[in-house]
C-alpha cells in the first residue's frame, strides 16, 4: 500500500465514501471499505488532506459526533436558496425555545418544559421536533402519570454541526444583572 498509485486510489475511495454518505462516516467505517488493509492513521491523514482541498472550494469537511461529513459552506446558502426558492421554514420562537430547553435541561418532561416557559406546550411544536428527528423519548419519569423523558438526538448535533452538547453556547448567567434595553 505504499506506492503512489495505491495512495491515489485510497484517496479516491475515501472521497467517494464521504460524498455519497447519507450520514456521518467514522474512520472505522471507512476502513471497512479497504477490508482493514489500510491503516486508520493513513485514513485520518487523507481526510485532513481532503478537508484542506475543500477549504478552497465551497465545501467543508466537518467532524461530527459519530464521524465525518461534507457540507456546503454557510456563505453559499444564499445561492442555493435562489435555486430552490422554497426556503425551509425558519422555526418559530416557540419551537426554538422548546428545543433549547430540551438541549440544555435534558432529560426533561413536557410538564417541566411548560413550567419553565410558563405556557402550555403546543403539541405541534413537539411533533415538529420529532419529525425532524431532533428529539427522542429516552424513558419515563418515575412520578405520577409516568411522563416521557425527552432528549436530543445525534441528528440534532449533526444538523447543528457540533460533536457534543458541550459545544452549545454556554447558558448565560443573570446574577445581579439588569435586563438591559
Amino acid at each position: 500500500m505504499n506506492n503512489n498509485l495505491e495512495l491515489i486510489r485510497i484517496k479516491q475511495v475515501i472521497e467517494v465514501c464521504l460524498l455519497t454518505a447519507n450520514s456521518p462516516l467514522s474512520v472505522e467505517q471507512i476502513a471497512l471499505a479497504f477490508e482493514k488493509q489500510v491503516e486508520i492513521s493513513l485514513i485520518e491523514k487523507i481526510i485532513f488532506n481532503l478537508s484542506q482541498e475543500y477549504a478552497e472550494k465551497g465545501l467543508e469537511l466537518i467532524r461530527l459526533s459519530n464521524g465525518y461529513r461534507v457540507r456546503s459552506k454557510v456563505e453559499f446558502q444564499t445561492y442555493l436558496n435562489k435555486i430552490y426558492q422554497v426556503k425551509p421554514p425558519k422555526y418559530s420562537q416557540s419551537i426554538m425555545e422548546t428545543i433549547t430547553i430540551i438541549a440544555y435541561k435534558q432529560p426533561i418532561t413536557r410538564g417541566e418544559i411548560e413550567e419553565i416557559r410558563g405556557v402550555t406546550l403546543n403539541s405541534s411544536s413537539i411533533q415538529t421536533l420529532f419529525d425532524r428527528e431532533w428529539i427522542e423519548v429516552i424513558g419515563t419519569k418515575e412520578v405520577p402519570g409516568r411522563p416521557e423523558l425527552l432528549a436530543t438526538t445525534n441528528k440534532f448535533l449533526d444538523d447543528l454541526g457540533i460533536i457534543s452538547l458541550q459545544e452549545l453556547p454556554p447558558i448565560p448567567t443573570i446574577d445581579n444583572a439588569h435586563i438591559e434595553q
Binding site: 464521504l18 460524498l19 455519497t20 465545501l59 461529513r69 461534507v70 457540507r71 456546503s72 459552506k73 454557510v74 453559499f76 446558502q77 442555493l80 426556503k87 425551509p88 425558519k90 420562537q93 416557540s94 426554538m96 425555545e97 428545543i99 433549547t100 430547553i101 438541549a103 440544555y104 419553565i116 416557559r117 410558563g118 405556557v119 402550555t120 449533526d158 444538523d159 447543528l160 454541526g161 457540533i162 452549545l168 453556547p169 447558558i171 448565560p172 448567567t173 443573570i174 445581579n176 444583572a177 439588569h178 435586563i179 438591559e180 434595553q181
Partner: protein, 256 residues
C-alpha cells in the same frame, strides 16, 4: 449581556386612551410566548432590575394589558389570567402590615419574600431566551447549509452469487425430477451452441420485418460459425419461429 429580544418594536406601545383595533391587540399578544415573556417585556421596557421588581408597578401594568385584551374579547390563554392572579396575590401579601421592627428582616429574608419564586422563574426563562438566540445562530442543516448528496452509480444492486456450475447442478435436479415424475416427457438432445445462435438470430430479427441470410454470418469467425448459424436457422424454421423465402440473390429470414 444581551437585551431581552422582542420581535416587533413598533407595536410595543399600548396607548391608554386611544381606541386600538382588536387585530392590533391580537398581534401585540402574539408577540409574546406567554405571561413570563410579557412580564420580561414590561420589566425591560422600564429598565427595571429583575432581582428587585417593584411588584405593585408591574402588577398594575400587567393587569392594564390583560384588561385591554379582555374588554375586546381576545381569547386570552389561561396562563395569562393565572399570572394576573399570582401577581395580585404577591402584591397583596407585600401590602399586609407587618410588625414595624420586623419588616426589614422580613423582606430581606429571601425565603419569605413572596416575589422570590416569580423572580427565579423570570431569571430562568430569560436565560432560556438568551440561549435560544445563541442556538438559533448556529448554522443548521437545510437553513444554513446542505449536506453533500451525490448519487451512487448503482448497477450496484449486487447480483446473486451464482456460478455457471450452479446452473449445471440445478439442471441435473430438474432432469432427475423430470425422469422420475414424468417419464413421457422427452428431453431433446441439443447443442447449447445452437440454442445460443438461435437466440442471437431472433435478437437480430427483433424490431425488423426481415433480414438477409448473409447478414447472419460473420465472415471473420470461420467455418464452424457458419455451420452452426446455418443449423440454427434450420432449427428456427423447423420450430416455426422464422420463415425463409427466396429473393433474387439471397435468402430472406422473416420473423413469424
Amino acid at each position: 449581556m444581551q437585551a431581552i429580544r422582542v420581535n416587533k418594536q413598533s407595536l410595543t406601545d399600548l396607548p391608554k386612551d386611544l381606541y386600538i383595533s382588536p387585530e392590533a391587540l391580537q398581534i401585540f399578544l402574539e408577540m409574546f410566548e406567554g405571561p413570563l415573556d410579557l412580564l420580561l417585556y414590561l420589566i425591560r421596557k422600564q429598565n427595571l432590575d429583575i432581582l428587585t421588581i417593584p411588584i405593585a408597578k408591574i402588577t398594575d401594568q400587567y393587569i392594564l394589558y390583560i384588561n385591554a385584551m379582555a374588554t375586546i374579547n381576545i381569547d386570552l390563554a389561561a396562563e395569562y389570567l393565572s399570572m394576573a392572579a399570582t401577581l395580585l396575590a404577591i402584591k397583596s401579601r407585600l401590602m399586609l402590615p407587618h410588625p414595624p421592627k420586623l419588616e426589614e428582616e422580613y423582606l430581606e429574608e429571601t425565603n419569605l419574600d413572596p416575589r422570590n419564586e416569580l423572580i427565579n422563574k423570570l431569571i430562568e426563562y430569560e436565560k432560556i431566551k438568551q440561549a435560544t438566540a445563541a442556538l438559533s445562530n448556529i448554522p443548521t442543516e437545510g437553513y444554513h447549509y446542505r449536506w453533500s448528496n451525490i448519487e451512487v452509480n448503482s448497477n450496484l444492486n449486487i447480483p446473486p452469487n451464482i456460478k455457471p456450475e450452479n446452473l449445471k447442478d440445478i439442471w441435473l435436479k430438474i432432469l432427475l425430477h423430470s425422469i422420475t415424475q414424468n417419464t413421457k416427457h422427452r428431453i431433446k438432445r441439443q447443442e447449447l451452441s445452437i440454442r445460443e445462435y438461435m437466440t442471437n438470430i431472433l435478437r437480430k430479427l427483433s424490431g425488423k420485418d426481415k433480414i438477409t441470410f448473409i447478414s447472419i454470418f460473420d465472415q471473420n469467425l470461420g467455418v464452424t460459425h457458419i455451420i452452426v448459424s446455418f443449423i440454427a436457422i434450420l432449427e428456427l424454421t423447423k420450430e416455426g419461429l422464422i420463415q425463409l423465402s427466396m429473393s433474387k440473390n439471397d435468402i430472406i429470414l422473416v420473423a413469424n
